[in-house]
Amino acid sequence: MRLHEYQAKQIFSEHGIPIAKGEVATSVDDVRKIAEKLGGKVVLKSQVLVGGRGKAGGIKLSNSAEEAEELARELFGKVIKGHLVSKIYVEEQLAIDKEMYVGFTLDRSRKGFTLIVSSVGGMDIEEIAAEHPDRIASVTVDPIYGLWDYQIRNVLYAAGMPKEYFKQVTAIIKSLYSILVKYEAELTEINPLVVTKSGEMIAADARLNIDDNALYRHKELEKLRDYTEVNQLERIADEKGLNYVKLDGNIGVIANGAGMSMATMDLIYLEGGKPANFLDIGGGASSEVVKEAISTILMDENVKVIFMNIFGGITRCDEVANGLVKAFSDMEVSTPIVLRLAGTNEEEGRQIIQKFVKKSGIGIYVVETMEEGAKKAVELAR
């Protein structure tokens, strides 16, 4: 779960990382009031959970409360890289002398959290890495031993950090690491970390991504999840506990396992079709989950056919078949279903479907292989 800048900044501030004065607004009126309070010279920052919002026009400078009001009117309701602006963070403008970068990110290959520091900033870290390779340095922190001062020193020296900033930036890095551990983040960064003309070091942006799997231990953060950002269907799927991503094709995809789901989508493309979604029912799904998966996909009006591709391991084919039957019994479904069942309790599953099709006479096409299924689904979607 990615937090909004204003949410992350509150947490940063609670852990001693200096931030600029600012407040979040949900209306044009709020923006004007906050801008007045801050003396007019402010930045309006669209709170959208996507990178590069500045370049995409999501960040505006204003010199007066009136101007802020006007800019807010433009920003609210605007769509930045597919994300609707419904909150604006209004912050005092900083007199920037220098921009830098600090951040931690999960490192799959080194099995730890990698601290990345750059003594230049204000652009994507990838750009910094490409343009200033001598000003960026990193070290992987072993989660068993935690972060040690020498690691910070090594990185600061290697990134060419001016010595006068060592103390402040070290304190900020230590706070970031505490936040990472405390909230079980998978990524946290400050880009840019700003030095103002008066010599203060301030987090001018704040990013904090929490591990979804750990949210059950951080109920206070789960409340911060912003559903206004998310596609309506994805939100419903999330509430049902389904792993669903909306796409723009017309073939609904249901599979078990992320790999199988992706492979199914890949096959549909290979056959010339376009998937309407990614939906992984996970391992060991109950018939209830299967039913919910089908009903979610049917809410997508683009869907002309559903391809269910199940290879049972921990998932049992009879459960899947029962879910399918339940879905069809509870709802009026006219969308055809291409069904491929293999693996654990395959026979039982097939028998349930055969019996049901015989009785109800509805359009379930049972196929033998996934290749055949993809072909059939693409054919039906035309």
Binding site: L106, S109, K111, E184, M262, F278, G284, I314, T344
Partner: protein
């Protein structure tokens, strides 16, 4: 010979009294797996499926000689179960559980490595040494004994490929799902090394997916140190960048870890990559017959 586990492996099932645990323990027993004990704290002294249940893994090791474990406990308790297994002296830990927090997974990984044990998973289907033993949740009926090893990040895709191979009459030696999470106990390279040394394996299928750089590292290893043929498959060619595709393993970040980069790396290492599971099986058929 088989890699990591064989017919002599003595298995303890952690979480044997749960619904998943008992369902799959029964299937494993039917397959011939030597399950010597189960563990569920508070249920010690009972018997499930004819298997004695203990409160702790230590007891299962001391009283029944268990040397491998399969873990079915829920995510909030899974890391603790792995730590318990390793501490009790278990050599091979297979963690089926999905949804373990990544900070826990890192600690598990470090502990297991420090102890010199082997961790398969988490979020994996387990391991099968065909007709010898099965530690996991695989649909065992699809496998056929033979000389192809399979290593995979995806559970269901593994079954799919094994199924296709079996249909073509090509059997498998050992099949391992290393797990789909970002932090897993075994890398492709770890498993490729074992297959390279295994007398019963003549060719290997590697099933990867987008995210991470494990496939790229595998390609490097294959180019430098593998004598046996490897056939690849990469899922997620059409996955839109930045979208989260199910489990955490499948994120494309910053251009690294794309399907293209993985396929390119494998091709450059001399690995033919199939576009569908069926195509993979057919390439294997060609490669194995050539031998």
């Amino acid at each position: 010979m088989a890699i990591i586990v064989d017919e002599n492996t003595k298995v303890v099932v952690q979480g044997i009294t749960g619904s998943q645990g008992s369902f799959h323990a029964e299937r494993m027993l039917k397959y011939g797996t030597r399950i010597v004990a189960g563990v569920t704290p508070g249920k010690g002294g009972n018997t499930v499926l004819g298997v004695p249940v203990f409160d702790t893994v230590r007891q299962a090791v001391e009283e029944r000689g268990a040397n491998a474990s399969v873990i079915f406990v829920p995510a909030p308790f899974a890391a603790d179960a792995v730590m318990e297994a390793v501490d009790a002296g278990i050599d091979v830990v297979v963690c089926i559980t999905e949804g373990i927090p990544v900070h826990d997974e890192l600690k598990m990984y470090k502990r297991v490595r420090a102890a010199g044990a082997t961790l398969i998973g988490p979020n994996c289907p387990g391991i099968i040494s065909v007709e010898k033993t099965h530690l996991g949740i695989m649909p065992t009926q699809i496998f056929k004994p033979g000389k192809v090893g399979i290593v995979s990040r995806s559970g269901t895709l593994t079954y799919q490929v094994a199924y296709n191979l079996s249909m073509l009459g090509i059997g498998q030696s050992t099949v391992i799902g290393i797990g789909g999470d970002r932090i897993v106990g075994l890398s492709f390279v770890d498993v490729l090394k074992l297959f390279e040394e295994d007398d019963e394996t003549e060719a290997v299928v590697l099933i990867g997916e987008i995210g991470g750089t494990d496939e790229e590292e595998a390609a490097e290893f294959i180019a430098g140190s593998m004598s046996k043929p490897v056939v690849g498959y990469i899922a997620g060619i059409t996955a839109p960048p930045g979208k989260r595709m199910g489990h955490a393993g499948a994120i494309i970040e910053g251009g690294r870890g794309t399907a293209e980069s993985k396929i390119k790396a494998l091709n450059e290492a001399g690995v033919e990559v199939g576009r569908t599971p069926m195509e993979v099986a057919k390439i294997v058929e060609k490669v194995v017959k050539k031998e």
